[in-house]
């Protein structure tokens, strides 16, 4: 590794790097191991992307590649020509968008009063919230509640049972507690009630954190497999994650027969393509996610 020179001190001076032979050997091995780790993380993803654009014979004959010999799009053409896929994609996009809005609204409106230390009953509610992080009724009782509410086979079942993530709630609450109180008091003197303060002062100040948690919630719904598995039985209401499962892991022929077949599908290619499609939005938003998540996780980890 020639990139490592002793004159490059790095920005954190915390760790002492002396230049003994042992120390330098360690540095080299360390870099090699970590680069290896990063490669193991991303290479499978690049392979799937490459394979989704490769021909069937190439997928069958080359064990691993990062660039297809011949770029074809027939897998995507096939997928986008099947109504089942279009339906599930639309379903997932809409459920994700609506769910995100509902979840963020519920989380933020609940977090705000909980941030007010003077509010009687606040500690009780907080403790009840925290208790749900330790113990839950479990899958079946929750399923029965959803069923009794008549939400089986309804898209609301994918949103409402997960409407507030207690960890997120507590992070947002901590964030609200650190907002300057003077602003709110000024608004109150100007005749705003708490609702007005919240919508006119607090929410505009919270834009970055709203964006962060919108993305977190969106990722959670987009990726959710358990809720549709539990609550959705009608194949017309499949979400993308269920479709991925059907296409890749179970017998693909059976799943494909559900897709109104007009020509013979590129069987392996379809698997790769559906993985890419289900992953793409996440990777698109990843830079935005990454910007904020570390801080969020830390507050969540430290507080309470």
């Amino acid at each position: 590794m020639t990139t490592m020179t002793e004159t490059e001190p790095g920005k954190q001076a915390a760790v002492n790097h002396n230049n003994s032979v042992g120390s330098r050997v360690f540095d080299v091995l360390n870099v090699v191991a970590l680069v290896g780790l990063a490669l193991i993380t991303v290479l499978p993803l690049i392979y799937v992307l490459a394979a989704s654009f490769a021909t069937e014979p190439e997928i069958a004959s080359r064990p691993f590649f990062l660039w297809p010999e011949k770029i074809v799009t027939e897998a995507y053409e096939y997928i986008f020509a099947t109504p089942t896929f279009i339906r599930s994609l639309l379903t997932t996009v809409i459920v994700t968008a609506v769910g995100m809005v509902v979840q963020v609204m519920l989380t933020f409106t609940m977090a705000y009063p909980l941030a007010k230390r003077y509010l009687p009953g606040r500690t009780l509610v907080l403790n009840l919230v925290i208790f749900t992080m330790v113990f839950s009724g479990g899958m079946i009782p929750t399923y029965l509640v959803v069923r009794d509410l008549g939400m089986l086979d309804s898209y609301w079942a994918l949103i409402l049972p997960l409407a507030i993530n207690p960890f997120y709630l507590i992070i947002v609450k901590s964030f609200f507690q650190e907002l300057p109180q003077a602003l709110e008091e000024a608004a109150r003197i100007d005749g705003c009630n708490e609702m007005g303060v919240f919508f006119k002062i607090v929410l505009p100040l919270s834009k970055p954190i709203i964006a962060t948690f919108s993305l977190f919630y969106a990722v959670a719904i987009w990726n959710d497999y358990m809720s549709p598995l539990l609550y959705i039985t009608d194949p017309d209401k499949w979400t993308l994650q269920i479709l991925v499962r059907q296409l890749v892991a179970t017998d693909p022929a059976a799943a494909l027969s559900q897709m109104d077949r007009t020509w013979v599908p590129p069987e392996q290619g379809v698997k790769f393509a559906i993985i890419v499609i289900a992953t793409l939005p996440i990777l698109f938003f990843y830079p935005f996610l990454q910007k904020h998540f570390a801080k969020g996780v830390l507050i969540g980890g430290v507080k309470e």
């Binding site: 490592m4 790095g10 790097h17 991303v42 509010l119």
Partner: protein
């Protein structure tokens, strides 16, 4: 030192009035803070309906729940379902499968982020450090469905990458179907967890490492400590409390094998080693309609989880650590 159980501190400061001297009557408070309470309402309704109603619903574990009779009409049967679980043929297998996965998780998946964070912390070049971090965080955001699908395309017998490599490497013409064989199930599941969780897990340890006082290293260097001695005497003690807290949190999830992942990886061929409490609850309850029995299984798991989390918190305090509660 008092060695009593871990609960008191939280329960002691009673929830009623949070350090306010002027006690206002409830009616006055509700009136004065009506907007705040109004805002609180939807969230509280959520927790009541989707969290506390199911907690009440666990009572069907002590009933022979019949949907048309409901919670109040179904006959009470005491501990029948628990007896059925503990004496049944599945329990030993479920417990073994769950505990083996939990043990492997602690051995590899829990420790990997600590090690990787320490390695990242020793990187001299900041750009490299940040790029590697960005890359290894990615899998955290991918769904288990995607991870399972990736595993499938990498490990499948007919066109899988690993199988092809093994064929080339060993000249073995047999197609090994890693995904279908019992013997590979645990290895693959743990590999998936390592791939998906390691990078993300480093965040909290890296933060703890960033908080270490540089003067400590300075002092250690003055005393002639080598890099490895510094790691041993300064860095490791510095992150010990974080590791303990993470371990307590993890212990509560010991019986949580992760429903989605295991369910996605279970096939009719590997069910013997794959089935854990989480998937069994779904299988017995939703698929076979034994609501009461599978609620009992879930309740057993939930209560055991609570005991584990308080137990390990107590243990951590006994060992002189700060603990969670």
């Amino acid at each position: 030192m008092a060695t009593d159980l871990a609960t008191p501190p939280k329960a002691a400061p009673k929830a009623k009035k949070p350090k306010r001297a002027d006690k206002v009557p409830l009616g006055t408070a509700v009136l004065r803070y009506r907007w705040l309470y109004l805002m609180l309402l939807p969230g509280v309704a959520y927790f009541v309906i989707f969290k506390y109603l199911p907690m009440y619903g666990v009572t069907i574990a002590f009933q022979d729940y019949l949907p048309f009779l409901g919670y109040s009409g179904s006959p009470w049967v005491g501990l029948k379902h628990f007896e059925q679980l503990f004496s049944g043929p599945d329990f030993a297998r479920l417990l073994a499968n769950t505990l083996i996965l939990a043990a492997l998780h602690i051995m590899f998946v829990f420790t990997a982020p600590v090690i990787v964070a320490l390695m990242l912390n020793e990187l001299r070049v900041n750009i490299l450090k940040r790029s590697i971090q960005s890359l290894i965080y990615i899998p955290h955001f991918l769904s288990w469905t995607i991870v399972a699908a990736l595993t499938y395309v990498l490990f499948a017998a007919d066109f899988g990458v690993i199988a092809a490599w093994m064929r080339d490497l060993l000249g073995d013409t047999n197609k090994v179907d890693y995904m279908a064989q019992e013997q590979w199930f645990r290895e693959i599941v743990i590999l998936q967890q390592l791939w998906k969780m390691t990078g993300w897990g480093t965040i909290i340890y890296l933060a703890a490492l960033a908080g270490v006082d540089p003067n400590l290293y300075e002092a250690a260097r003055m005393d002639g400590a080598s890099r490895f001695r510094q790691l041993w005497h300064v860095t490791l003690p510095a992150i010990r409390p974080t590791v303990v807290v993470m371990a307590i949190l993890a212990s509560g999830n010991l019986l949580d094998s992760g429903f989605e992942q295991i369910w996605l990886m279970t096939t009719s061929l590997n069910r013997e080693v794959a089935e854990v409490f989480d998937t069994y609850v779904y299988y017995a309850g939703v698929q076979n309609g034994n609501f009461s029995y599978s609620t009992a299984v879930g309740l057993f798991k939930g209560v055991a989880g609570v005991i584990l989390i308080f137990g390990s918190n107590w243990l951590a305090k006994r060992m002189g650590q700060r603990g969670l509660f």
